[in-house]
């Protein structure tokens, strides 16, 4: 994991001091609310429905145990004892006091964390694959490049007042687990024919009101050119992105208006002016950053005998074997596995976690996974480096803590935004919908039979719950002041990215679980052997689903 040096420490602590002075000026009435607003936003502080909300950056999802313990302390001391993992791998506090925020930021700085640019119209926290460094299909570890981007974008003087927010994601593996096609810039690490490392650059993806899949503007960008090229894209956007209408201000609208070819040509032209500037990356810097992401001290094991022992144990215990099948994943190194901690047990808002749970997770990470944890955009946590021989013990411990629900990748591993319970932009609540679905579908055997399904819920068009890319997407809408829910089908993240189609008229909250039930029935009746929900949907189309769900009305 990246470790701060005195420069990083100084920049982050000066930022805390700056925000402390700004907050003092605001509280003393010397800074107008409208001027304080972008300042606090760029330090992660929203003012929400019930209280301020503080969004803490977790750069590309990496956390160490000192950070987890600090977060536990902060949620306990400054908040109500729990926090929330967001769909951009960040951590949110729901109830801090505005006056306390400078102190919270100072505490975070002690463990090399901050809340810089987690909101506002600026370059946001860069996100990546939760299995970076350990995935079996990895081409190159994306984290060093993420860190390089983090530093470049942090307090960038030119890009703090963009037309709209700006999100970058990096994937270093064959299968895209970072949803790079739905970011303002998506970077796919590739190697060219001569083995040189570079990036395929996608621009203009995004969810929200106008969901768009990003388009390729460059097939191969040499790694040294990363920052100059990003600078060209963001400068062009800063000058040319629309500022007259907030809903048309994202870069996707600019790319679409220009057409991707003209757009790509404009970027090359912009880049031409700066591509040999001092921002050109040096091998020294790339290697320096890479040196923070070296392998931990893996022990050597024989994979086959490890796998055999594990299988033997699994056969004797159905619960353990379910957990292995769903929450445990392959690892690049023999005798190791990844473990996903499900933050989606029945009855808990997806992604919520308490202070003492954070501490318990820190202890387990120390014992079983080299003291590191990752957050995922599906709002779960991951231990990336667990020995197979430790899995059973870890499973027991996680079961006690409530993180061993064996539902990863299934219907009940939902993505869900905070919605109307917390968010002032919401049209409708989303957490109670997630709960109702979890209650309706609590039979694990049925869930397993359904196989891989992604169900995503957003409380409004802003799409923080990624409803457009759920196989089943649920969107809260406002119908004459009442909360209703629109359902979409066929969305997908990953390499076969797709935007879901609206099923038809929206539903009341009470009827949502039943509608989902009918959709699943259609799938179960129509599927052919081995076909996943979304595959059946693409084969049979939306009509049979529509007919079943709206049968009575017809």
């Amino acid at each position: 994991m990246y470790v701060y040096d005195e420069h990083d420490r100084q920049i982050i602590s000066e930022r805390v001091n700056q925000f402390r002075r700004q907050t003092e000026r605001f509280l003393a009435g010397q800074l107008k609310e409208e001027v304080y607003l972008p300042l606090r936003l760029q330090n992660g502080l929203y003012v929400q429905r019930l209280a301020p909300m503080l969004r803490i950056a977790v750069p590309y999802g990496m956390l160490n145990v000192a950070q987890l313990r600090k977060l536990a302390h902060i949620t306990r001391h400054y908040d109500k004892g729990y926090c929330h993992i967001t769909t951009r791998q960040n951590i949110q506090l729901n109830w801090p006091n505005l006056e306390d925020v400078p102190d919270i930021l100072a505490e975070l700085a002690e463990v090399e964390m901050h809340a810089i640019q987690t909101s506002g119209n600026c370059i946001r926290n860069v996100t990546s694959d939760q299995f970076a460094g350990v995935a079996t299909d990895e081409i190159i570890d994306p984290r060093p490049y993420c860190e390089i981007i983090r530093q470049w974008s942090t307090l960038h003087p030119e890009f703090a007042f963009l037309p709209r927010k700006f999100k970058i994601a990096v994937s270093g593996s064959e299968e895209d687990r970072a949803a790079i096609r739905f970011h303002d810039i998506g970077l796919q690490i590739v190697k060219n024919d001569s083995g040189a490392i570079g990036f395929k650059v996608l621009v203009g993806g995004g969810l929200g009101r106008t969901p768009v899949i990003g388009q390729v503007v460059r097939e191969f960008l040499p790694e040294q050119d990363l920052l100059t090229y990003l600078e060209a894209i963001v400068r062009h956007y800063n000058l040319n992105g629309r500022r007259d209408n907030k809903y048309k201000a994202r870069i996707k609208i600019l790319v679409r208006a220009m057409g991707v070819e003209a757009y790509a040509a404009a970027i090359e032209q912009e880049w031409d002016k700066i591509h040999d500037s001092q921002a050109l990356l040096t091998d020294k810097e790339i290697n320096r950053t890479k040196s923070f992401f070296t392998e931990p001290d893996y022990e050597s094991f024989d994979e086959k005998s490890c796998a055999d022992t594990l299988n033997e144990r699994a056969q004797k215990d159905k619960d353990f074997s379910n957990w292995l099948a769903h929450n445990v994943g392959k690892h690049r190194v023999a005798g190791y596995r990844t473990v996903t901690l499900s933050l989606k047990p029945n009855g808990i808002a997806p992604g919520d976690i308490t202070d003492s749970q954070l501490e318990a997770i820190a202890d387990l990470a120390e014992e079983y996974s080299f003291g590191e944890v990752r957050s995922t955009h599906e709002q779960n946590l991951v231990f990336a480096d667990v020995q197979t021989a430790h899995l059973r013990r870890l499973w027991r411990a996680l079961t006690k803590l409530g993180f061993a629900t064996a539902n990863i990748g299934t219907l009940t591993d939902m993505i869900c935004c905070p919605g109307g319970d917390y968010c002032s932009l919401a049209n409708a609540k989303s957490i109670p919908v997630a709960e109702a679905i979890q209650n309706e579908f609590d039979d694990l055997d049925y869930i397993y039979d359904l196989g891989e399904i992604e169900l995503n819920i957003s409380g409004c068009m802003n799409a923080c719950g990624h409803h457009h890319i759920g196989h089943i997407g649920i969107l809260g809408v406002d119908k004459r002041g009442e909360e209703f829910y629109q359902i979409q089908l066929g969305g997908a993240q990953g390499n076969n990215a797709n935007i879901g189609k609206v099923l038809g008229p929206s539903f009341s909250r009470e009827s949502v679980p039943n509608v989902i039930r009918k959709l699943l029935d259609v799938y179960v009746e129509s599927r052919v052997e081995g076909e996943a929900f979304v595959e059946t949907y693409h084969r049979v189309g939306i009509t049979p689903f529509k007919e079943r769900v709206y049968a009575k009305a017809n």
Partner: protein
């Protein structure tokens, strides 16, 4: 009368900022005073053979294309940038292009709806003069110019990014 912070100190402002719908300064007015005028006014005055670097400057609105300014920079000592709305960040890129790509060594002055907490970033982007309200707390504003003692990125104040300076 607005005050001026230039190169980090409070100084006398000698230039008049002509707002968009004001009449262009006459030849006499140019003899006796110094004017920063909108780009279109600048072009008209120049076509009439009026004004020189000592008494005529130009200011750009956020929507103006900085590249159009390139052929004129050799005749200018001062370029203004106007913030219509503080959240409109185009001035940052405009300043940086004028400084770094068009190699302008004169004064870049901002006016309008910018605020104190943007000054550090503006200075990094190449702005060296700030026109502020008469009653503004200039001391506190000048302090904001040194909110940070180091930065990650290369910019106008520091041509090398931190990664090239790290030992």
């Amino acid at each position: 009368m607005p005050k001026l912070i230039k190169d980090g100190i409070l100084t006398q402002n000698e230039w008049q900022w002509l707002v968009t719908d004001e009449a262009a300064p006459s030849a006499e007015a140019l003899e006796t005073g110094k004017w920063i005028v909108p780009f279109s006014v600048y072009l008209t005055l120049k076509s009439e053979g009026l004004g020189n670097a000592k008494n005529l400057g130009v200011w750009l609105a956020s929507a103006d294309n900085v590249q159009d300014l390139a052929p004129h920079l050799k005749d200018l000592n001062i370029v203004g940038l106007n913030f219509e709305k503080f959240a409109d960040g185009r001035s940052f890129s405009q300043a940086r292009i004028i400084r770094e790509q068009l190699d302008f060594g004169g004064e870049i002055r901002v006016n309008g709806d910018f605020y104190q907490d943007q000054m550090f970033y503006l200075a990094r982007s190449g702005v060296n003069a700030f026109l502020i309200e008469d009653d503004a707390n200039s001391e506190s504003m000048i302090e904001s110019l040194s909110d940070f003692s180091d930065s990650y990125q290369a910019a106008c104040d520091e041509p090398q990014p931190l990664f090239r300076r790290r030992v």
